[in-house]
Symmetry: C2
Subunit: 305 residues, 2 copies
Amino acid sequence: MSLVVIGSVAYDAIETPHGKRERTLGGACTYIALSASYFTKTSIVGVVGEDFAPEDRELLSGKGVDLEGLEQVPGKTFFWSGVYSADMNDRTTLQTDLNVFADFQPKLPPSYAKEPYLFLGNIQPTLQGDVQRQMKNVRFIGGDTMNYWITQTRDELLQTIKDWDFLLINDSEARMLANENNLRKAAAKILELGPNTLVIKRGEYGAMLVRKDTLFMVPGYLLEDVFDPTGAGDCFAGGFVGYLAERRFDLRNGNFDIHELHRAVIYGSVMGSFCCEQFGVERFRTLTRKEIDGRFEEFRRFTAF
Amino acid sequence: MSLVVIGSVAYDAIETPHGKRERTLGGACTYIALSASYFTKTSIVGVVGEDFAPEDRELLSGKGVDLEGLEQVPGKTFFWSGVYSADMNDRTTLQTDLNVFADFQPKLPPSYAKEPYLFLGNIQPTLQGDVQRQMKNVRFIGGDTMNYWITQTRDELLQTIKDWDFLLINDSEARMLANENNLRKAAAKILELGPNTLVIKRGEYGAMLVRKDTLFMVPGYLLEDVFDPTGAGDCFAGGFVGYLAERRFDLRNGNFDIHELHRAVIYGSVMGSFCCEQFGVERFRTLTRKEIDGRFEEFRRFTAF
């Protein structure tokens, strides 16, 4: 049983107040898979160019990530570069070269189609829809999106998420999708669009999970040093879905302990916090499950009253 | 045994996206006292002009607030007017008439000097220092300040807070006081300045409490409607100190259950959230302790995992 993750695999150039990297492995699918791999067997669907380095492939396969769905085609890998503000709350994109990602048509290997868990990273909603229709045996489907799809392909997006069990987005996307500034009201509106579970990431301020039967909120982990926030939201997603897959969680069955969903939000927060401690995916070279569970317990301590 | 609160008593003109009020009771001391009065006997020290309305006096005395220290002098009461942005995260001050508050010299009635709990609202640090030296029997002294005193009277402020048991400020003030953008590092620096307990308010994002022996964080209560955020931070302060006073908490003794401090942060958050539900102090006309304890339990539910 494994988790299938669809999304971008990329090279990033990143500059933060702590330094810069000219070319480092990135992309939503990469971060989600690395993060989820600490909890469950993960299989990815993505596309890279001829320049994709064997050592980057090895980083993923070394974590047990199934790369059968990672297509390699002529051309260059998706490239993104950006620079963060002094307080790291804003970032400016300097360059986006879609390269081989421009023609990405996710192809699900036949062996993936029977897997129970699917997470659709932020790509064109129609492509997300194509993938989810190929899955035959799902216990949950969830995904991410972004402001561009919310404004430019709203109808396709609404059509796609109708079949999702959960939607995982950030607070500004939630407000934009619901066309409502109050987050509680925005969440209630989004829960009418299909997903019965909404997870909202709030960056350094934490995260929340909203369903008709529960509201859960957690503050963000207070890091001594935020080296690089790139990928933190995707690592959150990986921790959230990874933990649910590890627990064999069935969002469609409905017969579950609601606190498992709350704990999944904590594991998401834990993974997002680790991601920020080093540049790009570097923290995942050394991170252990023991450290992850240790930080989960830290969350218990600093939220107990 | 009662809590002594020093600070401004004012009239406010407020405009938010939900409407406006031309003249409504306000001032830090007012909000702190109203909020604390649900937990403990509260005595205030402040000054008002001849225009101070009997019904506003009655609102306070009706909550059991001791007004012996509320001086009434010739002239007009402190007046402030401001307008909030559409998302209510920013506000613009339109007018500040200090009036009788310009010459405020807090005079502690002799009966107050033996009280165990003192909260110094945001006024000139030297005046805060004058008051705290008149207290003879304290179990805790804490207070608030603002960016103006941090930049304009830094030496006096540092001299004053040296003797405080806790400092209660917002996140931007904490960063400014410590001259450090990372909140965890800023908190550690502030704990070297005297107070062994630091409470940081983060507006809609919640609050945190930092000591060398504990870190506690709580997300903000998710309101359906924020009518008017004026006074929310002061109501937080009132709930925090009020609960500690109710529990006969002795911050100087050091022999206490650390979770009581965490619970005080929750009661602070609860009181801040109620404050936003109506304009100015209006929510306190109907608020009951039962509602307060009910929301405390809601905090338990939405943070449990």
